[in-house]
Structure formats: C-alpha cells, structure tokens
C-alpha cells in the first residue's frame, strides 16, 4: 500500500461536512434569534439569543395534538411492521408451493411507489371507513418489503440444528418463532423499528390527502400549514422546524448502525 498524504482527504471531507451542516446551523441560529428574516447582510453569529419562539410555536398551533397523532400513527405502524414482517419473513424461509409467485409479487411491489397509488388508496380507505383515523393513516405503512427480506435473511442464519431440536421437543411453530428465532434476530427487529418509525414519522403526502379534520393532522402537515399561515415572517417557523427535526435526528443518532444496515441490505445479498 503506498503512502499518500492524508490532509487533502481531510480537507475535502471537512468541506463536504461543512456544506452538509451549514443549513442546520442556519436554521438553529434563526430559531433562537429571529434574525435574517428581513435583514441583509446576514450575520454569522446570532445576537440576542432568546428561546421564546419555541413557546410561540407550542401555543400557536396544537403542537401537542399533532405530536400525539404522529406518534400514535408511527407506533401502530412500527408494531404492525414488526409482527407482519417477521411472520412473512419466517414463512419465506420454508419452501412451499407458490413460494416463487409470492416472491415475484413482493419484488414487483417494490417498484410501485406510494405516489402511484394515492387515488385508489384514498378511495379504498374511504370504503373501509378509515378516513381521518389513526388506523387509516398507519395502514398502508404496516408492512414493507425491504424489512421482510431483512427478517428472512436473519431467520435463514439461525442454525437448523436449533430448529430441529425444538421441533423434536414438540414445540408449536409460533413458540419456535417467539422463543428461538426472535431473540436471535434483535438486529433485524431494531432495523425494522427504526426504518418503519422514520418512514412513518416523515410521511407527508398520505396524511395530506387523508385527513379531513384539523384534529387528526400529523406533524409534517402541521408544519406545511404553519408555513402557509405565517409565511416566513417570524423565527417561529424555524423553531417549528427544529422541534420537528429533533426526534428524527435523535432517533438516527441513537440507532445509526441499524438504520444504515437496513438501508444497505439491498446492496448486498438480500
């Protein structure tokens, strides 16, 4: 391996990091100081730091209600995801008639983006009577194909000897899953939880077309509505941005490895 100087690499990466981080800093700065809404040239260091825009946001919109809606929908989606995907992944580790058809179906569903289904999805949810409810908001997101394959790969890696021993002992199927395979697949469960939560938390289009009453709106919807009420005249909009970004960032920083592993499992053998 040849020796090459390291500092140009560090320099380039620092510049790239700077470009990626500057928007965060800018928003955080304005959310505590309210500058650069009208003033030009912009100041780099905030003067007159005050946290009261956050108080404004809390009372100007029903933030607690929106937060509760987003949280409830995400929790439903995550729990349903883990259960359904684990079940489907387990079923796919066995061979049975029609398995290839099912696999083809799943793979082709990956190519259908959500945006191509909004009109029928809306009509179907209406027919089910689930418009404007947490269950209706969560339902299209209750299963994802990437996560099914993650579970399948994780279950495939469980040694057959364990399963055979359990079968000989007479355990029923669901107990095999619950007591043997799930504890060995905590990584897959963690990845599933993170991915499902983030996708459900950030979802904007589906709540936009589904919710009728202001009560059931989720955070992204509330943010967009806040923008159209207040335009960008106060630092409150940016405080709202920070309040909305914080949970996603926190979750990402807590669970980086699982998140990245889940996203790249398609880049290696599924």
């Amino acid at each position: 391996m040849n020796r090459y100087p390291r500092w140009p690499i560090h320099l380039a990466l620092i510049m790239a990091s700077f470009v990626m981080l500057v928007p965060f800093y800018w928003v955080a700065k304005t959310s505590v100081s309210g500058e650069n809404i009208y003033a030009y040239p912009p100041s780099i260091i905030p003067t007159r730091v005050q946290p009261f825009f956050y108080v404004d946001v809390w009372y100007a919109i029903p933030f607690a209600r929106y937060f509760l809606n987003s949280l409830a929908v995400s929790v439903i989606a995550v729990i349903a995801n883990v259960i359904f995907n684990a079940m489907a992944g387990y079923a796919l580790t066995h061979g049975f008639r029609g398995k290839n058809v099912v696999l083809m179906l799943f793979l082709s569903c990956m190519m259908v983006p959500f945006q191509a289904t909004i009109i029928p999805a809306y009509l179907i949810t209406g027919k089910l009577g689930l418009l404007d409810s947490w269950l209706g908001l969560a339902l299209p997101q209750c299963s994802t194909i990437i996560c099914i394959f993650i579970f399948k790969a994780s279950f495939d890696a469980v040694p057959r000897s364990l399963i055979d021993a359990a079968r000989i002992d007479g355990l029923p199927e669901w107990r095999i899953i619950w007591h043997i395979m799930m504890p060995l697949s905590t990584a897959a469960i963690a990845t599933n939880v993170i991915l499902a939560f983030i996708w459900s938390w950030n979802n904007f289009l589906w709540p936009l077309i589904m919710t009728r009453s202001a009560d059931m709106q989720t955070l992204p919807l509330g943010l967009a509505r806040f923008l159209s009420y207040q335009e960008d005249t106060t630092g409150a909009l940016y405080a709202f941005c920070i309040m909305v970004l914080a949970p996603g960032l926190l979750l990402f920083l807590l669970a980086q490895k699982e998140f990245i592993r889940g996203l790249t499992s398609g880049a290696t053998k599924g």
Binding site: P42, A88, A224, T268
Partner: protein
C-alpha cells in the same frame, strides 16, 4: 404425514396473509384500479361510463402535462450528478483515515430528516433577499444583483434539484461505500504490486466491481426524485407558472384539488410506465441483471 404437511402449509399461508393483504390492497389493486379508471369517466357522484382513450387524448393536448413530463425527465437526469458526487465522497471516506465514522455520520445526517422541514430550510436559503446562497454568491462577486432562485423560470427547477441532491447525498454515499468495502483488498494489492497507478486501479478494478452498487443507487435515486412530492410542494408549490411541476404534483392537483380522479388516473399510468421504462433502461445500461438484491 400428509395432514401435517398441509397443516404446515396452511400455517405458512396464514403467516403470509397480513403482509400479502396489505400489498394486495395498497400496491397491486391500486395499479389495476388506476388502469381501469383511466379508461372511464368517473366522479364520486355519478356511475362510471366507458371513455376509451379520451383521457389520454386530453393529456396529449395538455400543455401542463408535457411540462410536468419534461420536468420529471430533467429530475431523473439529475440523479447521476448526485451519484457522481457521492462516489467521490465514498472514495474519500473509504480511505484509511481516522474519524471516518464521524464524517460518514455527518454526511448521512440529511437523509432521515423530514423532507418538509428540509424544503422549508432550503426555501429560505434560496431566498432572494436574505438567502444564504445569494449572500455567498454576492460576497464572492459571482453576481451583482441577487438571483430570485425560486421565482425565476430558469432557476426554480435547478434549485429544487439541488435541495434534493443535498438530501440524498448521504444515502448514495452509504450505498456506494458498502459496495466499495466489499471489494477484496487483495485485488488492489495485486494490481499495485504489478505497478498499476491509483487512477488505473480506479478505472479497471473499482468502477467495474462497483457497478451493482451504482445501479442500485441510480434506481433508488430515480425512485426518490421522481416521487419528491414533499420537496416540490413545500418549496415552490409547482413553481412560478408550472416551472417545477412534476408528474406527482400534477397527479395530486388533478385528483385532490380539482377532484378529476379519472384524468389523474391517466397521468398516474403514464407516470408508472415512465418508471418501469427508466428502470429497465438503467438495467440495460448496467449490462443486464445488475445483481442487486439477489434472492435465493
């Protein structure tokens, strides 16, 4: 013995049932429904009538549709720019330096964020009067007067594309990084011993072996940018005039603002066909069976 087999198969199908139900309900049926709906006159109040190709004919003569289609094609064509940048970053991060995990985290930070918030941030950064982009451009004396990025017909779509690339850069980089790290070291060492320069090694070893990752990054990037409803809706709402209207926003406006569900269904079918064709073309360009996500 037979009874146990059928019981087990039945159980497996029961396990598959919930996921299958959701996909049938929310992925398969909608495609079929859209297809049927695009050939009918239908509104929620009247029963359906057969319409033949009328809606498609209306689309053919619809200027907005062509503008949206053109914009969508431009957005797809911009995905390689992001991938090229991410490839550079991935090569840098893959080098043996300290703190590479820190760099990786920082660059990936933009992906898990709410796109609505990202759109608001970039909307403000591109602002004509107080935006950071204009400030930097004017400080570096690149321009004299501020550029109205989101209000001009020429700059609106590139601005949206730039914001999209900013958000996706980390994601592309992670995919390419995973691919880079799966190239065995011995190949590079053997080539270095044989006297190949770094540049030569990059071209002949790294890039060909990276093809599946590049293909995957392109498909994901294309899927993401073709469906970037959130970004366009919040940043420009379709742009000055229709300058940033993409097919997805047009579907939304036709279906849920003008409640013309049947015409929106026709646009959806065109959108879906475009998606399939682009993925197939990318597959051909990558040399067929690009090797991503092989299932045993």
């Amino acid at each position: 013995m037979l009874k146990h087999r059928t019981r087990q198969t039945l159980l497996l199908w029961c396990f598959l049932a919930p996921s299958l139900a959701i996909f049938l309900l929310y992925r398969v049926m909608p495609v079929v429904w859209n297809f049927v709906l695009s050939f009918q006159y239908w509104s929620p109040l009247k029963p359906a009538e057969f319409a033949g190709f009328d809606h498609y004919e209306d689309l053919w003569y619809d200027d907005v549709f062509w503008q949206a289609l053109w914009n969508t094609l431009l957005v797809i064509a911009s995905a390689p720019i992001g991938i090229a940048l991410a490839l550079g970053l991935a090569l840098l991060v893959n080098a043996e330096i300290r703190c590479r995990d820190v760099y990786r985290t920082i660059i990936f930070l933009s992906y898990p964020l709410m796109t609505v918030a990202v759109a608001i941030i970039w909307r403000w950064m591109f602002d004509e009067r107080v935006g950071l982009i204009n400030y930097v451009a004017r400080s570096l004396h690149l321009v004299d007067k501020p550029i109205p990025f989101l209000n001009s017909f020429t700059w609106a779509l590139p601005s949206v594309i730039a914001a999209n690339i900013w958000q996706m850069l980390g994601f592309y980089m992670i995919i390419l990084l995973t691919g880079l790290q799966s190239i065995p070291h011995e190949l590079h060492e053997a080539a270095a011993i044989d006297g190949a320069s770094s540049w030569r090694r990059l071209r002949s070893i790294t890039l060909p072996l990276l093809r599946p990752s590049i293909f995957l990054a392109f498909v994901v990037g294309m899927l993401n940018s073709i469906t970037s409803f959130d970004l366009v809706y919040v940043m420009t709402g379709g742009g000055p005039g229709r300058a940033t209207e993409i097919l997805v926003t047009y579907i939304y406006k036709l279906g849920f603002v003008q409640t013309k569900f049947d015409e929106a269904a026709a646009v959806t079918i065109v959108f879906f066909v475009l998606l399939i064709v682009t993925a197939w073309a990318a597959n051909r360009l990558a040399g067929g069976n690009a090797g991503a996500a092989e299932i045993e």
